[in-house]
């Protein structure tokens, strides 16, 4: 393992052994529907509350990923997971179902890439043979925590995004699997002063631009070297801003940039700018993107999930929204 700037280069290139995604009914109508392992018909997932449903989705994604990798619970050394709810209850409660150790993370919607970065570090350093990285979110539980009650009849502003109901998990291992994590860039908190909680795309775009450009610089690559530059949940508006921000600094990513939030929904009802939430990048990566990579259709992917590190208290007190983005570079290696 070596370091340059804020980028960690993995010597043993940890592999993604297996992955799994559980998505909600609305999400399954979009492009990821046929790639996800489980598409829920009922967003309650047979539970009595949405929080329990979110927890069950996450737990299911974790156990499915382990099962698909042909492993047993005893083979897993650590679970790295987090979610959006207060005190990361979904992740901690999901970890009750398993015997292996759990490290709770909070990085809002960029939890997927943060967990992959940390998981890869542990596996690469030999501190863990198999590590599970997972996260998820639920529209109803996020809406209740961050916004209004579900049934309240209010108009959504056109910048708004729709929190994805979905969970994704993957197993990182020293051997096996055709996709390797070759390096990762740690994010810096960026805050350019956006205070509008309905405009997460604009708040998060500078963080994504910062991390992606530092990644290019540290690794000596340029946008054209990647088949896909995948961001988490910037949405349509945030993606436009990201392209502008990077273009301004001399990196043209418009040809191969894709945003998970922008592509996840097919029906444009009131999702407006697209999906958001920790489950957004987790479910798109662990279904559509990794399946395509496994088949060799994408050779090199930069995955930079973005997170808005705000709470209802901070936004209520008029604070602006600090944002972060962590990136990991994935490579197909036959």
């Amino acid at each position: 393992m070596t370091r340059k700037g804020n980028t960690i280069f993995f010597k043993n290139s940890p592999r993604i052994l297996s992955y799994a995604a559980v998505v909600g009914s609305k999400e399954s109508e979009g492009i990821i529907g046929s790639y996800a392992d489980i598409a829920l018909a009922d967003d309650m997932y047979g539970e009595s509350t949405y929080e329990k449903a979110e927890c069950k989705m996450l737990s299911t994604a974790i156990s499915l990923a382990i099962e698909k990798g042909g492993l047993k619970q005893g083979d897993i050394d650590v679970l790295l997971s987090g979610d959006l709810l207060n005190q990361i209850i979904s992740a901690s409660f999901a970890a009750r179902d398993f015997d292996f150790p759990f490290l709770g993370l909070y990085s809002a919607c960029s939890t997927m890439s943060e967990s992959m970065l940390l998981g890869a570090t542990l596996v690469d350093g030999g501190y863990a043979k198999n590590a599970v990285c997972a996260t998820g979110s639920h529209f109803a539980s996020a809406e209740r925590q961050y916004r209004y009650p579900l049934e309240l009849g209010c108009t959504r502003p056109p910048q708004a995004q729709w929190t994805v109901t979905g969970a994704g998990g993957l197993v990182l291992s020293r051997k096996g699997g055709r996709i390797a994590i070759i390096n990762g860039t740690m994010g810096r908190v960026c805050d350019l002063g956006v205070t509008d909680v309905n405009n997460m795309g604009a708040a998060m775009a500078p963080a994504a631009a910062d991390t992606i450009m530092r990644h290019f610089k540290d690794t000596g690559t340029e946008p054209g070297d990647f088949d896909l530059i995948l961001t988490g949940d910037l949405g349509a508006l945030g993606s436009r801003i990201l392209k502008d921000l990077t273009w301004e600094k001399g990196f043209d990513i418009s040809a191969n940039h894709v945003d998970c939030g922008e592509i996840i929904y097919k029906v444009i009802e009131s999702e407006f700018q697209g999906g958001s939430g920790a489950g957004c990048s987790a479910s798109v990566l662990n279904s559509y993107v990794l399946t395509k990579m496994d088949a060799g259709l994408y050779k090199r992917v930069l995955f930079a999930a973005t997170g808005a590190l705000l709470s209802t208290v901070s936004s209520g007190q008029g604070e602006s929204i600090p944002c972060i983005s962590h990136a990991v570079e994935l490579e197909y290696c036959g």
Partner: protein
Amino acid sequence: MTGKTRENYNRNYLNYVKTQDPPTKHFKNCLAAFGVGGLICCIGQFIRYTLEYVGLSGDELAGATSIILIFLGCLLTGLGVYDRIGRYAGAGSIVPITGFANSVTSPAIEFKTEGWIYGMAAKMFTVAGAIIVFGVCSGVIVGLIYLFL
């Protein structure tokens, strides 16, 4: 909180974001609000006429009409219809009394999972509380103006 204050916000970026923002469709929202709000009021008026025909009058008539509208607002909230109307109605479904019913019922449904007392009952007025406070305040102010005129 930290060294990040309003003074060192990136003005350029914020101005740039403003140019990229999709505009709120004020005209369309106003039109929808006019239509939906008007329709709800027409339904209210229809209920009033019907009750008048049945034989109610005065305060009883006004009370009964409001009660029926509030009931309908709560029922539609419980059935998950009112939020869908609200999404397209601009403010048309918020302003009438049905909107107030919706703002009380929706948190009540939502927080029922946290128990009847500390969940449903305590959180029932999270949205409507503000309406009540400022409603009463503006009522007092208008009343005082009326008194001295």
